[in-house]
Symmetry: C2
């Protein structure tokens, strides 16, 4: 019987939890045993009692929980507690499934391999329709996009919707969303719901229709290079293309009340798209919400984790937005994990077929080895730097 | 030529301004002269240059501005600066139009009368269709209701809309709005826009249809007394009725993720509708936004101006919500003032016909006398206390 362990997240501000009580009871029905660290769900408003009622056993000490795990399910990459590496508590051969930031922090992946941990990185679940229900990057990005639009609305000194009052009409706010991936599309949808006039830009022309189907205008910038990876994520574009994008966006940024930026390139620092000059041309009282702040930000004025005022423009660089909606974020993340674990485990045992693209891409360490080519490359860049 | 003066608001956190540049130019076209204190518009993101371009003259000193005014237009009641009462700077016979809190602060109205100021209180504009375009209480309440729903959404650890993802469905948040006046209706509309499931309650059965027309459910509580003033505002109800309302609301509060309270009784402390016991029964992670915090609050746990956590429930008691959207709030307020002033001034002079209900009700001091019966009553209660 596989023993699943769910620790209390130790990273500051991480209010999510890997499993919610509802998924715990589903795992138990499937024949798993589930251990939950005391207080693991509090940030997401689930009590130990809720987990016990779902059939989990509550463990008070962190190291005991980690040591007993056959399968440790987590949200943020393993960290440190009281000077000890959490991953050092895992027994060799244990399986770890979590966000691991494998391209940003390849040494940690190497350390997991050395400790004989089988690790799956939720960031590397392929973006295929078969893997859609395990795609935690998307489920969390969707929540981040919603919250970004809300933050913008709550910070703007004017309303999003048009208001027709007896004293005249207030025009709707103008919102520009840069990057129309999952987060961007949800930001567009939320801003539209609130009544704003929305336009959006993305280097991938393929998303134009999705943007338009949400009622937003697509900013057209002809680009003559390939801008999407085969997985559908955005690629880094050439200097030339970046320059052309900046020229066109300058005009659009200038006339917007709100700019929401969501552009990320996997494993790299986020590209600077909104320059200091563009911010300087915005009206006083405008707002920028830079979802890419976790990766350094898309705006030159962004200070990750801070809320600053540049020349009357409010620049918000929120970190870990999904954790600000921990109830729903944990719930969908837990379902992503449930689907993945059911996919990996047959007849009560892990059966890892590396011919399978989901398993092959998401599994970063196995049998003492670092498996993923991109992670190896990131590591070698680091070693040679 | 009537000289209009627009001061910089001196109250802490008051970011609104009585006139925006657009209304300044309209006043000038009508033949008024307009003086604006330097920096008056900064909180609402209008510069001195914007006002100058509209034809205003910029005055740097506050007392000079007040002294020169034939007609002083303001947002918050006159206050104090460096130990001096702002109203003492006005010349006898000057006209003051502002929110004045006449029922809450009748001594200030008496002082205005003694100083021979003709004062109009924006709170006392009658609620008739003829006066609708001057009704600043409504225009500002509408903005407060929008912002209250946004604050609730931004504080809730779950999403407002239902989300159907590949990993399953997140149910929509449940929002209860108590008090369906202008602010309540706008809160309902905004929560609905964001995708929440909304129900609402008001002591006035007449608002049921308006609530339903916004797609919200009306909570029915049979009440056997008259609950609205002839002006359409809510009246204070009997102990018995309050008790019955509490019984029914307890169940509704308990199952809500968000409660937005907006119940006010003109000139009185806001009624306590959500008791401590009700809050204690709400789920951890629920949110209460108490718009009535300015008047003491509708929730027993509210601390006006603070954001507290009671037993896992987030209780937000915001003060002066319209001032958090100063651009739009100033714009509609300025239009309310424009309409009122046009109504009071004929052929370049104030012509006050006290047979007219708008003038008779809103004018609280004239010719050295306190005019309004309710203000007199409030003052005598205070003197006899």
């Amino acid at each position: 019987m596989i023993k699943i362990a769910v620790p209390k997240e130790s990273e500051l501000g991480e209010l999510r939890v890997a499993l919610v009580p509802d998924t715990v009871s589903r795992f138990i029905k499937l024949g798993f045993e589930v251990l939950v660290q005391s207080g693991a769900g509090l940030g997401a408003h689930f009590t130990d009692g809720d987990y016990q009622a779902a059939g989990a056993q509550i463990i008070s000490s962190a190291d005991q929980l980690w040591t007993e795990a056959d399968l440790l399910l987590k949200v943020a990459p393993p960290g440190e507690q009281n000077g000890q590496q959490e991953m050092d508590w895992l027994k060799p051969g244990a399986v770890l499934i979590s966000f691991l930031d494998p391209l940003g922090n390849p040494e940690k992946i190497q350390a997991l391999a050395q400790r004989q941990i089988t690790a799956f990185s939720m960031e590397l679940i392929p973006r295929t329709s078969r893997a859609q229900s395990m795609d935690a990057l998307s489920s969390q990005a969707s929540i981040a996009g919603y919250k970004a639009a809300l933050l913008a609305a709550a910070s703007l000194p004017r309303m999003f919707p048009m208001m027709t009052t007896a004293a005249g009409t207030i025009p709707p706010a103008k919102v520009l969303v840069i990057g129309a991936g999952v987060a961007g599309l949800q930001a567009i949808a939320t801003a539209k719901r609130l009544g704003a006039v929305v336009e959006a830009f993305d280097v991938r022309p393929a998303v134009k229709e999705e943007v338009q189907s949400l009622g937003a205008k697509f900013v057209e910038i002809p680009i003559e290079e390939d801008t999407a990876t085969k997985g559908g994520y955005a690629k880094e574009v050439s200097q030339n293309t970046q320059e052309r994008i900046r020229q066109v966006l300058t005009e659009h940024v200038k006339k917007s009340n709100v700019v929401i930026t969501t552009a990320q390139v996997q494993g790299k620092r986020a590209p600077i798209i909104v320059t200091e000059e563009m911010v300087a041309e915005m009206d006083s009282g405008s707002v920028i919400v830079d979802i890419a702040a976790d990766r350094g930000g898309n705006c030159a004025c962004t200070e990750p984790g801070k809320d600053i005022c540049y020349n009357g423009v409010h620049v918000i660089g929120p970190l870990n937005l999904p954790a600000t909606l921990p109830v729903d974020a944990s719930q969908v993340y837990a379902k992503n994990l449930l689907t993945l674990v059911k996919y990996l485990v047959k007849d009560g045992e892990f059966q890892l077929n590396f011919e399978d693209d989901i398993i092959s891409e998401a599994c970063v360490t196995y049998d003492g080895q670092l498996r993923n080519a991109r992670v190896k490359e990131a590591l070698s860049r680091l070693v040679n730097a």
